[in-house]
């Protein structure tokens, strides 16, 4: 039972990755996007690291953590686009007919989205290191940081899959992208949380991405804090979004 399930999931993942890497027009922008943000933030705002009370050891590393979380979650969203495109073109219906357990389609896209992260992580980390980023955390700390990014990726993929399976059209793209983009920017992007002012301060304090970002930055600095909260929030988001995606799958099944 498990074997056919994962066989379907692997097939979906392989097809997704094959389509992705054979279409540079789709893949390259998604790789350049995080690099652009890394360059714009770490390059243009590095003086912000000297603001009183900033207190983080390296501004490029500080921005790298945000870009890592951002790139990982957006990779999940881009996989959602692929689900929508497949259903728009009729491929989604054929996949539903061909699988025993249809949730393996979503699992397959999740495996694909997580796999594409590897290259994104290598490129973004490589560019950041070449740009002079210093790493204070140990290997275990860094593994923890990347695992948080992976959990963000899974949550974003499940959210986007829920939208894609309900609308089954690429026109729902903004509905997948905008909420994720907004929630990312409502976290402490430029400065630590204690330096935020105005309306964004309470918004960031209730934003689940803040917990992920703060924990990732603490791991990068080699002084882990808030890990329990971060993993708890990530697990909660994945659970809620899994229910959302499964209900989306039921909606797609009902629509035929």
């Amino acid at each position: 039972m498990i074997r056919p399930y994962f066989s379907s999931a692997w097939a979906v993942a392989w097809r997704y990755l094959h389509n992705l890497y054979t279409k540079p027009a789709v893949f390259i922008p998604s790789l350049l996007f995080p690099l652009f943000f890394l360059a714009a933030f770490a390059g243009g705002l590095s003086v912000v690291g000297k603001a009183p009370g900033f207190g983080y050891y390296d501004f490029t590393a500080f921005q790298f953590c945000f870009v890592l979380i951002q790139a990982s979650t957006l990779a999940g969203v881009f996989a959602g686009f692929s689900i929508a495109a497949d259903f728009e073109q009729g491929m989604g219906r054929r996949m539903m007919l061909a699988t025993i357990h249809r949730s393996s389609i979503v699992v397959g896209f999740a495996i694909g989205a997580a796999s594409r992260l590897l290259l994104t992580w290598v490129v973004v980390t490589g560019v950041a290191l070449l740009g002079g980023m210093s790493v204070a955390g140990s290997g275990i700390n860094l593994a923890g940081m990347f695992s948080l990014a992976l959990l963000g990726n899974i949550a974003a993929l499940l959210f986007s899959a829920g939208i894609a399976l309900r609308f089954r059209s690429l026109q729902a793209g903004p509905l997948m992208q905008m909420p994720v983009f907004i929630i990312l920017f409502l976290a402490p992007v430029y400065v630590p949380q204690n330096l935020l002012t105005g309306w964004i301060e309470p918004a960031a304090s209730v934003n689940p991405v803040t917990a992920l970002l703060n924990a990732a930055r603490s791991l990068m600095a080699g002084e882990p804090t808030g890990l329990l909260a971060a993993y708890g929030v990530a697990a909660g988001m994945i659970l809620v979004m899994a229910v959302w995606a499964i209900k989306g799958l039921r909606s797609a099944e009902t629509a035929g």
């Binding site: 996007f33 360059a39 243009g44 705002l45 590095s46 920017f185 400065v191």
Partner: protein
């Protein structure tokens, strides 16, 4: 609109102005009927302004920062961001006309290319003015300074209009050359890159990275932002305003000329 064009055909000397008015009215009505196209271009710059102000307010404590209010500093960027959105709106409108065949039908009428383009841009100028007023009102309500006073508002409105025409012209070029709304939308990331690699978030003299400062210095967007910013922070800065207006006028002339040349080419096909 067809009535207006027909009337224009019998009106003699004022044909062009009637045609422009007819196309402008269509452009404005179409814009007003598409809140889904307008709302993001109005709301998104305000959202980014809120995020930047909340996140970067502490930057005002950096020695050499030109003001103690980050919203005063950041407000100028909002106008330019909105103008960049207008690139997409103008291009999208014309591309839609090309895709659905309306443009081909227009070519069968005595409509002049100048009237077609001026009409397309009229809606953008109107939207630009609305945005200028809204952003200034929101900025002032949130505590921003406007050192140039009431007179400065008219200078701001004039600059925003020219910038809207300039960026709108770029959208028209894309639409005419590709005839595809998707291609026009594909330009957005490029425009966004231009925006981010400017002095939008920091004064150029405070940018530490040499490569970034060099890009921001050769990026014309920096001077457009700095012209508007000067009205907020210093009041009347002739150098900043001359650079801003100069670049905006060159951009408008270049983009409209290129759009006109592209339009002639398309009409010949």
């Amino acid at each position: 609109m067809s009535t207006a064009v027909a009337t224009a055909g019998t009106a003699g000397g004022s044909i062009l102005s009637v045609q422009v008015a007819a196309m402008a009215a269509r452009s404005v009505v179409r814009l007003l009927r598409q809140p889904a196209a307008i709302i993001p271009s109005v709301i998104f710059p305000l959202f980014l302004l809120g995020v930047n102000v909340g996140g970067l307010n502490s930057a005002t404590q950096i020695p050499g920062f030109p003001t103690d209010s980050y919203i005063t500093f950041a407000l100028g960027f909002t106008f330019i961001q909105a103008a960049i959105f207008s690139t997409m709106n103008a291009g999208q409108g014309l591309a839609q006309d090309i895709e659905n065949g309306f443009f081909s039908r227009l070519l069968l009428t005595p409509m002049r290319p100048t009237a077609l383009m001026a009409g397309q841009l009229a809606g953008l100028v109107l939207l630009g003015q609305f945005q200028a007023l809204l952003y200034l009102a929101v900025g002032l309500a949130a505590g921003a300074d406007f050192a140039a006073g009431v007179g400065g508002y008219f200078v701001l409105a004039a600059l925003v209009s020219i910038i809207s025409v300039g960026f709108g012209g770029i959208g028209l070029i894309m639409a005419i050359r590709t005839g595809s709304g998707e291609a026009v939308q594909g330009m957005f990331p490029l425009m966004f890159v231009l925006l981010f690699f400017s002095s939008m978030a920091m004064p150029r003299d405070l940018i530490e990275q040499d490569w970034y400062r060099t890009i921001a210095t050769i990026n014309p967007i920096s001077y457009l932002i700095e012209a508007i910013r000067s009205l907020m922070i210093t009041g009347w800065d002739p150098e900043a305003l001359a650079l801003g207006f100069g670049i905006a006028i060159v951009l408008a002339i270049a983009s409209i000329s290129l759009a006109a040349a592209s339009l002639k080419g398309r009409m010949l096909k």
